[in-house]
Symmetry: none
Subunit: 265 residues, 3 copies
């Protein structure tokens, strides 16, 4: 067990976070797909309903990823005054890094949803939107006209004028399309990540050892800074409250944290 | 139990990792094969669908193997400036080693998938792609023409014009082909690994004892280096924050980790 | 329980490993035979399919046995320069010992597979390959011609033109052959092992007491050597890192482990 923990400790903290987030998202998708999702089987609603289950949670998770990432706010706080093209190019790497981590949850949502296939089946069975796609789906059935007219009813297991076999066939094709899309998405995410990290590392002006040093430095600086901030805040609060309770004038208090202006952290 | 742990500790860390990764992959494949996979039984889709379940997860796992391996980044960081044929030949061994370890998960995926046979059955029952293979499959059935025409429906347990016995026969042959391929893959992976390690070790200029010494040396150097890096980083962070909070000029700080340029780790 | 532990502690570590490996292999064979194996019952495939389940896992396990055995690499590291007939005869004992241990898993696989009989039944029911064997199997049935023609279908429990009794009779004979082969294999492995150890011990120039002494010596030397290697590695790493961080020239470091050339371990 201890040995396993040692092995586990090799992975970096970011990797573990990413894995946890991806697993939680996949679980949430499964629960939603089983409990909440009911395809309306209406010609007008299918497409919007299916796509909203496929994309809106992904969008929400993306935004949540940006909101919860401390690095977003380190980067953005106070930048409205200095916003320019220079700023964007200078902080491109940080922006990319933040986006990449924020994309973990949404892309797992979409990938798992496409692999389970429910949302895609419902969305694509809406006849209004996918007329050419609908005719492609129905081309192997016995009555193409009827199949296309009833297509939007298929995800609910109904369809008066179409045989059970034809309906199952169409649903299997829809699921297959959804799952192929899901795998393609997963493969392209992996490929994109590898290339991105590869590019970043290959063009790095410093060696792996120095990179490791700067990472350790950031961590150490951060923890020291936090303890200094607490210390300064406690002192300032003590001085202010003392002055309030004893009704004496404020003593001068010098701290670089009280000087106006922006220092990038 | 303790005795077993002692026995267990003989295996190297890499071997244990490889075994854990292979087992997890096999388990994941089993779950996917049972829960997610539904052969579409459509003449156009079968081949693409089956192959995408067989190969795309393997590709994704391969890329993940490269991304998560620390050695990849030790090797690649900052190499764009010095990339050349010399570099490739000099680091061939390291590249081979990394690739070999990254291939553990994908090759287990493909091997287990071929042994369970579902994906291969689905892929090869697509008539469009495997016309000569399809005729070979159907040659022992009572109605060859009909069998070939309905071949793509077999994995779903349907097939109106073909007898149950013939269908089962064809499915058994497909499964047999898949499993024979799976065993061949496993045997060739093992053989390739043995030859690779054998070649590497046989042409080694140093003895086993020296190799063991250098491995121990690498481990010791690494742990010493880590403690030194933390120490330097803590000192530098303390100096910088002191200078920031007391508003005094920075004292000089000398460390080889701050000198630009590349030192292979 | 305690008594059992005492008995258990008499066995050498190698013996316990061998027993664990053999048991695991037998379990794996049982799982494969039940879950994965489906005889294709096709005249062309039966023989190849059955034999690939019987022999390929054994081959893979054999290669794995070589790869995971530390002694293989102690023997082979750096031998390409000195490979010759002399080398082979001089290291015959070590090679035999390694092979013998690597053969534990494959021979258990084959033995258990032959005792359960599934693979052998499937392989030998392929009529194309085993025509004379097929006629021998069918000689006691009511319709020999029909039996030989339908022989390949027997493992799947089908066979239109042959009576149930005849089919069962043939399957029992096949299973019996397989199990007799399995017992012969086990007996011959045991006999070969006994003779090999016997020969090695009988021709030994030293007494049992001296042999025991040398074994204890090897173990002690090994543990001492390990601690010395760790000590030297730690010293060398400390010297190198000191020189790197303080930017001073390297002090000389003498160790027999740094001298190039081969010393047999």
């Amino acid at each position: 067990m201890e040995r396993l923990m040692t092995l586990f400790s090799y992975a970096s903290q970011t990797d573990i976070w990413a894995a946890v987030v991806a697993l939680l998202t996949a679980g949430a998708e499964h629960v939603f797909s089983l409990v909440v999702f009911r395809c309306p089987c209406s010609p007008d609603l299918n497409f919007v309903y299916g796509l909203s289950f496929l994309l809106v949670p992904a969008l929400a998770l993306l935004l949540l990823g940006y909101i919860l990432n401390k690095k977003t706010w380190i980067l953005l706080t106070g930048t409205c005054r200095i916003w320019s093209c220079d700023w964007v190019t200078a902080n491109m790497t940080a922006l990319l890094y933040i986006s990449n981590f924020a994309l973990v949850a949404p892309s797992s949502w979409i990938a798992v949803a496409l692999l389970s296939g429910n949302y895609f089946e419902c969305a694509m069975a809406g006849t209004n939107v996918s007329s050419s796609y609908g005719s492609h789906l129905c081309e192997d059935t016995s009555d193409v006209e009827q199949c296309q007219r009833e297509l939007f009813r298929f995800p609910c297991g109904k369809g008066s004028g179409v045989s059970e076999a034809d309906r199952n066939q169409v649903m299997l094709i829809l699921k297959a399309h959804s799952q192929i899309l899901g795998w393609l998405l997963i493969a392209s995410i992996m490929l994109f990540n590898l290339l991105l990290i590869c590019l970043g590392r290959c063009t790095s002006p410093i060696s792996y050892l120095q990179l490791k040093f700067w990472r350790t430095y950031t961590k150490e600086e951060n923890s020291l800074l936090n303890s200094r901030i607490v210390e300064h805040a406690r002192k300032l609060a003590g001085r202010n409250l003392n002055s309030f309770f004893t009704d004496t004038p404020l003593k001068p208090f010098r701290s670089p944290l009280l000087i106006c202006g922006r220092r990038s952290a």
